[in-house]
């Protein structure tokens, strides 16, 4: 893998104001994404995982400026995305495409597939007009559909086929980076496997880079090179796939992994059942945001916010935000509940 930095996110914050009171002033903020930094290298797949409300989708949307970030810095291929004006940004979006979760809601029901793909190519001006027809046929075959189906409307396709169309649309402008926001979550497993294989093939053949946002750790293990784990707007752990799955460090990631049902009835495993629910991101817990549910939390966790750090026994790229990660690893810090 080349180590060229394609996407660099620094100190990204995305606060959504809550208006209220007589004058409609901002009375508080939903801190959906709160100061996160990471880098995506060319040709790799980085996944962001976490439960609802952790800020994974918001991160994807902020990078594309579908929601204007509150603060931070997003560099894409050497260009500062946040400083671009509307026209320049639109041009830049040629290189950054997004595929959404719901293949029913993200396609215009009044456009045929061919019109949709044509429009994308027209806006980004990637293929000359007289060659577009041919390109559309190529794209259809590429994603496993018949070229004649391009004249059909979205409602004539099944869920899996619609997701293929979403991918065809993203690919139509020759992007460098695709942000896949729960792109396979709505699909049945047999279809999901088809789409995952398709995406992996494109990555090899077209040298694509993926930022893959998902709650499904099975899917993430299958597709990723590196993994970012988020909890309540913060990154709690980041590392290579292998080290995350085989040398997991953060108590939250451990609980998350142990909570997933294993499709093997004979495999006995220890399950960490977390108490309670995810707290509200409006007034997130002080210190470590996970302390309200963490079996290891102490007073220090309630007061001081941990920073991401690497310790000598971990892989080089592996970082964890936990005060007691070393002590837990060495068995010196015991569970409180």
């Amino acid at each position: 893998m080349s180590q060229k930095e394609l996407l660099k996110v620094e100190n990204l914050k995305q606060y959504f104001p809550i208006k209220g009171g007589v004058f409609g002033r901002t009375i508080n903020n939903v801190k959906a994404v709160d100061n996160i930094s990471f880098t995506v290298y060319e040709g790799e797949t980085v996944s962001i995982v976490g439960e609802s409300g952790c800020g994974k989708s918001t991160t994807g949307r902020s990078i594309l400026r579908l929601d204007e970030p509150t603060e931070g810095n997003v560099q894409f291929d050497g260009v500062d995305l946040l400083s671009l004006n509307k026209r320049k940004l639109r041009q830049k979006r040629k290189d950054l495409q997004i595929i959404f979760q719901d293949p029913y809601a993200s396609l215009n029901p009044r456009q045929t597939v061919s019109q949709m793909l044509n429009e994308a190519m027209e806006i980004q001006n990637v293929v000359p007009k007289n060659e577009r027809r041919k390109r559309i046929a190529e794209l259809m075959e590429l994603v496993g559909l018949q070229p004649y189906q391009a004249d059909r409307f979205p409602h004539e396709f099944s869920g899996g086929q619609r997701q293929r169309i979403g991918i065809a649309r993203a690919l139509s402008v020759d992007p460098k980076l695709i942000i896949a926001d729960e792109a396979v979550s709505a699909l049945d497993v047999s279809i999901q496997a088809q789409i995952l294989n398709l995406m992996k093939r494109f990555q090899r053949e077209l040298n694509l880079t993926y930022l893959f946002i998902s709650h499904d750790l099975g899917v993430v293990r299958h597709i990723s090179d590196r993994i970012i784990v988020m909890y309540l707007g913060k990154i709690v752990e980041i590392g290579d796939k292998k080290s995350i799955f085989e040398n997991v460090q953060h108590p939250y990631t451990k609980a998350l992994l142990s909570a997933i049902p294993v499709p093997d009835p004979e495999k006995k495993k220890e399950r960490i059942i977390l108490k309670g629910d995810v707290p509200s991101p409006i007034n997130p817990p002080t210190g470590c945001r996970f302390h309200t549910r963490c079996p290891f939390a102490t007073d220090k966790c309630r007061k001081e916010e941990p920073v991401l750090r690497n310790l000598d026994y971990m892989e080089e790229n592996h970082q964890v935000a936990c005060h007691y990660v070393k002590q837990i690893h060495d068995g010196e810090h015991k569970q409180v509940y």
Binding site: E51, S52, S158, G159, G160, Q161, D188, V189, S190, I191, Q192, A193, Q194, L196, N197, H215, D216, L217, G218, V219, V220, R221, H222, I223, F245, A255, L256, L257, S258, A259, I260, P261, V262, P263, D264, P265, E266, K267, R271, I273, L274, D277, V278
Partner: protein, 340 residues
């Protein structure tokens, strides 16, 4: 088949009628729920698993209609019951919980009112006594400070809490059979783990039988004793859970397991099932899975295989396992070494 079955579903058929077209959602479903055990029903969207469950309780609305079969609960065919008799059974002897607790709870009633209703309807218990019992029930399902929660409305609760309230309602009258239709699908995994644990504990305490409907093979493996795999409105494989995962026989079951990305092991590649579920008018007349099956012969497309016994408590609907198989005699649907 087990001698002790709390529920036997035999050749159940439920269709939806749309402008003269008949869509066979459930097309001759047969399965047993052994007493005190959990039966899992697994299948993808449109396989008929939810409609089967709704048919058991006769919760099918127009334009749907149960058109045949038997649902034998403790020796009596529920399909012969009147509406009034069914009302006495629902929420009392057989309860159901649903996927989306927000839409299945009444938003205009407090949690307490909704749980009390079950006691009032089935046991004639008044408000004061009902409240006491409701608080007790909320405690059972692990809701903290139930005395306060009982006066709250569903919107004041989180998703996991709402699911707990729904379970409290369903279990209020200590049913003998609980039907759980994708009870954890809308929940985050850490909350899912809590709810699964809760259902298992309550089942042990109350000695209930459970039907667990899900698309998630992980949930099946962790909660069920027996599994019915459904495809195209039919049961294609019925096995005990250990055997199903160790030695799946139906090409569809094998396909499902091969396409599942797993978090607990490293997989080189996924082997998807080709194509998609055919629309009702394109459904093969023979084996429903024929159009996606890698082994299908002409015989499979035309002739429907029966659900045959292959072992004690194990059945399969596939021509490969019959004497009439006219395809490759050497066909191996499943090679265990490949997935371990």
């Amino acid at each position: 088949m087990q001698s002790e079955s709390i529920l036997k579903v035999k050749d159940l058929k439920t269709s939806f009628f749309d402008e003269g077209n008949e869509i066979k959602a459930v097309d001759g479903v047969t399965f047993d729920v052994p007493q005190g055990k959990t039966l899992g029903i697994v299948g993808e969207s449109g396989s008929g698993k939810s409609i089967s469950a709704l048919s058991i309780l006769q919760l099918i609305d127009e334009p749907g209609k149960i058109i045949g079969g038997e649902v034998i609960f403790k020796g009596k065919n529920l399909l012969e019951n009147s509406d009034k008799e069914m009302r006495k059974i629902r929420g009392n002897q057989i309860s159901m919980i649903f996927q989306e607790p927000m839409t299945s709870l009444n938003p205009t009633q407090t949690v307490g009112q909704q749980i009390r209703e079950a006691y009032k309807t089935h046991q004639g218990i008044g408000k004061k006594e009902g409240n006491k019992k409701a608080i007790e029930m909320l405690k059972t399902v692990g809701i903290p400070s139930p005395e306060r929660r009982i006066d709250q409305y569903p919107f004041e609760l989180s998703g996991g809490m709402r699911q707990r309230v729904m379970i409290a309602m369903a279990l209020a009258c200590k049913p003998e059979l609980l039907i759980a239709d994708e009870p954890t699908t809308a929940l985050d995994v850490t909350i899912q783990a809590q709810i699964i644990e809760l259902i298992k504990e309550l089942q042990k305490d109350l000695g209930m039988s459970v039907i667990m409907i899900t698309h998630d093979l992980g949930v099946i493996a962790e909660t069920c004793d027996y599994v019915a795999v459904m495809y195209g409105g039919k049961v294609v494989e019925y096995r005990d859970v250990i055997t199903l995962f160790k030695d799946p026989k139906h090409p569809y079951t094998v396909g499902l397991l091969n396409s599942l990305p797993r978090h607990d092991i490293e997989q080189e590649e996924l082997i998807p099932i080709k194509g998609t579920v055919p629309s009702p008018d394109e459904m093969p007349a023979g084996c429903r899975f024929a159009s996606r099956c890698p082994f299908a012969t002409e015989h499979c497309f035309v002739n429907l295989p029966e659900l045959i016994d292959i072992e004690e408590n194990g059945q399969i609907r596939c021509w490969i396992y019959t004497d009439e198989w006219d395809g490759d005699q050497e066909v191996k649907v499943y090679e265990p070494e490949r997935t371990s």
